[in-house]
Amino acid sequence: MKCGFCISACPVYREELVESAVARGKNQLVRGLLSGELDLTRELEERLDKCTLCKTCTQNCPAGVQIPSVIIAARADKVRHRGIRFPYNVVYRSILPRRILFGRVVRAAGLAQKLFFPKGEGTLRHLPLILSGLGKGRRIPEVASHFLRESVKEVNSPPAGTPVKLRAGYMTGCMTDYVFPDLGIKLIQFLTRNGVEVVVPRKQGCCGAPVYMGAGDFETGRKMADANVAAFGDLDFVIVDCATCGSAMQDYARYLADNEQREKLYSEFGKKVIHITAFLVDILHLPSEAYQAAPDVRGKRVTWHDPCHLNRHMGVQEQPRQILKSISGIKFVEMSEPDRCCGMAGAFSLHFYELSRKIVDRKIASIVASGADIVASGCPGCEIQLMDAISRHKLPVKVMHIMELLQ
């Protein structure tokens, strides 16, 4: 397929305007690699890495070609052949899979952040990015002084007098755990108040997205998937507030299953994974009265940014909008191109920071044009990207997770 209908859809192409940026070009590069016409050079690697996996190409492809899968597969192939570059290999192979060690590294990064970097506006600071030490002056939120899982119990029951309607697991995700613990606390409180017993399994780890989707390290990814599947055991729901975690876990079966047993295990697990907004709307069927604006957002105009992993990967578009329209006390406004990629895409924004900035600047223009005071989203990854850009442009817009809007 070489029709090129993906051209105007691709956020990377839109900035680079070269064929290797777009799905059609990448597809041909992978074919060149498979046919032996191209070698696995650094140049080829870099071109395949220049993809946010936003899936907009697939959405616009008349033949439904799954370019993101091709890219992930090619990345995996690359890892098999030559490994991942230092220092990423240390991070992906040794640190991320081990939760406690990862926590220590994050904490050390947090200390370094306090010691070596001046305090920026609000709570944002210049900081070499936690995972890689290659933040290039990015302003991101500082590491929390208390991690989420140090602050909450393993089993969180509804308050006395509220009957237990459902029992659900909560995958906190690294960002919420280490950077936005208040979001996690709020989410747990909201759920328990609405009759959900929230279990935060202690043995859960990183979802594996940066490891297997970003870096193509399937072997390590499989270990992480096994750990998470075991951690959530027989819980019927695995709630995520992070769309990236959610889509990575839904896709375990697609990418990581290497035998029938894992195939079965991963598919069953994938079906349990649900984004918090979908859980509230489709499972709990909360009435609109349940959604009350938190005091600090009352009277504000709020717009919604569709995270790619939520919208195109997890297929959740309407639920967050339904919640936003239900929250009494705020005004929901739609921005133009709400589903365009923000350019974060994990390690992508580290490898290609300048490009990532150009992509997010278009998003910022949409947000500004919408006249919103707050841009809400459902993925801490996108939020960090948006915070960085908004801070860079010194705009009076706040970035919040949709759950933070609720009382």
Partner: protein
Amino acid sequence: MLDQAIARKLKSIVGEENLLLEKEDLLTYSYDATNIWIHMPDAVVLPRTTSQVSSVMKLANEYKIPVTPRGGGTNVSGGSIPIKGGIVLCTTRMNRILSINKATLVAEVETGVVMQEFNQILAQEGLFYPPDPQSAAGCTVGGTVAENASGPYGLKYGVTKQYLLGLEVVLANGDVARLGGITIKNRMGYELTTLFAGSEGTLGIITRITVKLLPLPRAQRTMLAVFDSTETAGEAVSRIIGRGILPAKIEFVDNWFLRRMEEITHLGLPVEAEALLLIQSDGDIESADREIQQIITICRDIGAREARAAADEIEANKLWQGRRSAFSAVYSSAPSVLSEDITVPRDKLPDLIKRCNEIGKKHGFPIHMVGHAGDGNLHPAVLTDIRDKENFSRASRVIEEMIEAALELGGVLSGEHGIGLEKQRFMARAMDPVALRIMKEIKHLLDPNGILNPGKYWEDRGVDHHRGEEIQGNRTFSQGS
């Protein structure tokens, strides 16, 4: 390989970031949207200004380096493939919309503006630019001028050349020419502007384009009509036009295409239909509704199994989305696809469909058909595999006979896809020899060294590489999808 000194000069003209020399980049400029030809360029330049284009052309002309212009690379004729190597001059980084004048209904754009984005911005002003090649999501405005492109809207609104008011073009020697102007009427000298419409990059590099616009129609209505035979569907088209009704679009889709489209899109298309007509009326609400009703009556009278308006906008969008997938539907069906673009006078469409079916039967090749029926423009496709010599040569014969049939019916080789590599072997047969001679003289006048998109348009055996095994030099033909 490009000479090092030339590479250095190119770099000094466009800057390092606008010059691609790595194999990994060159490969991505070795193809277009067809799946028969592939050829690697030696360099790709992505100029940002007209003066950079001019400098590149001066250099190329001095050293006689082939230059193949390219926009989005979505063309379906082989036209943007650098079949002689050399430089691909890609215009995608010249992508500013320079002006949209609502008072005069005129816009000026740089050549690399993506068609769909242009129309999205115009829509915010209540305007539109009608030429609608189905590749709008990827093709550039400059590319549509070079190909004189069109699509379903051709029926009511015409083709690209009818919207061209002015052009800025860079000639082979680097001279910059401004042709036409910004007025709707302009009777100064020869029509040089339209000369470049359909020139396929052989006469110059189009850098700026001035076009006229239309106000967006207030209402659009879609209908569908299901027929038990392709020929009856063709007759329905002739009868609609014959009654003096000119809807915005009349699209024809046969059963094979319908099934393939449904397979890849899952839109719920009426796959049981032997042939489907998809029709759109533009106007105000009353006139569009009235026109649709008239067409429904005509279709029923002629024996349509079903003829009805789309239930709502959602169904209408689905039907058109299905239609847009036709290209993918066919090109993803076989290792090699020969998709034709023959066009006959509108009233000869039923004859053309009939002849194509007969030719297919004779050679044992099913002919799959989709087309802009209202324009008499049919895209019959033959699925083959270029690696299977016997099969491929039989498929090529089918194509030849279909083209022959179209010409006999007073038609042309290509309605909108252009000549490129795909149709050059038929040019001498299809064109008046004097007209062909004038064309060659124009080409020689504007590009005496023959550096602009060489190897295209006319067949020049011995120097030319074309279809099939002859092009194995640099990179061979593609192996399908």
